[in-house]
């Protein structure tokens, strides 16, 4: 049962990732990214990371993909731009990606990743533990990350405004 769910989710995820790479239309690529993220969220649920699955759907599927679609709309790109990459570059890209996949795969298979039996947290207690860790052990990183978000927001405002003045 778990195996079947894992297999179908991973096939969905990989197929949609390939769809992002191979799709000519940018909007279709964004939709493939959305489906791929949904598959990843399903895998997170299988790994008992319910909170992270929720956050992934909220932040990535809700905000990031919507932002991508907004930008596609704003830039008014015509769908179906031609591929026209040079054959050598495409070949080199495929070979590099295949090498990377083989290396990482060998590391995963031969690296003796065997771990102890997974601890099964109950749902509520896991979330409570998570929040506890976030606000005790990792309190400083949380505040730094919040500051980073503020800096990013100010940066985006500055970038957008400056180009608006420059174009006039």
């Amino acid at each position: 049962m778990y195996q079947i769910a894992f297999l179908s989710l991973s096939i969905l995820t990989l197929a949609c990732a390939l769809g992002v790479v191979l799709n000519k239309n940018v909007v279709n690529a964004a939709m493939c990214l959305l489906l791929c993220l949904a598959g990843i969220a399903g895998l997170f649920v299988q790994l008992h990371a319910y909170f992270l699955a929720f956050i992934l759907v909220l932040v990535y599927a809700g905000a990031v993909v919507a932002l991508f679609l907004f930008i596609v709309m704003l830039l008014d790109m015509q769908g179906g731009q031609p591929w026209n990459f040079r054959a050598m570059q495409g070949l080199a890209g495929f070979i590099a990606a295949a090498l990377l996949a083989t290396g990482l795969g060998l590391l995963a298979v031969r690296g003796r990743l065997a771990a102890g039996p997974p601890l099964s947290h109950a749902v509520g207690s896991s979330l409570k533990l998570y929040a506890y860790q976030l606000f005790t052990t990792y309190l400083l990183p949380v505040q730094v990350i919040g500051f980073l978000l503020l800096v990013a927001m100010v940066g985006v405002v500055v970038i957008s405004r400056r180009t608006a003045e420059g174009s006039e």
Partner: protein, 101 residues
């Protein structure tokens, strides 16, 4: 019977490779950005799998930070892409070659 850690790490490696392929092959800046996001999410999946199979929550906490940084990065990156488009009227990387020579 749950899938093993190896399966999750292999899937994450394959996802990362697909994203890498997209960054190398595609010419549209927006699609390259989507493939970057794909690579980030692949790393995230590996972290969550390791965290689950070791019974620790540190990986999960790190994933929280990665998601936050990714959101900030997307906002800034897309603003830069829009600024670039306003200045150069294109988002294709083979036409953005001012620094090439």
């Amino acid at each position: 019977m749950t899938p093993s850690l190896d399966a999750y790490v292999l899937l994450s490696a394959a996802l990362f490779a697909v994203g890498f392929l997209g960054v190398l092959v595609r010419r549209n800046t927006l699609v390259i950005y989507m493939c970057l996001e794909l690579m980030l999410v692949a790393a995230t999946l590996a972290l969550v799998a390791f965290s689950h199979f070791n019974g620790a929550l540190d990986g999960d906490v790190f994933v929280f930070f990665i998601l936050t940084v990714a959101a900030a990065e997307v906002a800034v990156g897309l603003a830069i892409i829009v600024a670039l488009f306003r200045a150069r009227k294109t988002v294709r990387v083979d036409q953005l070659d001012s620094l090439k020579h």
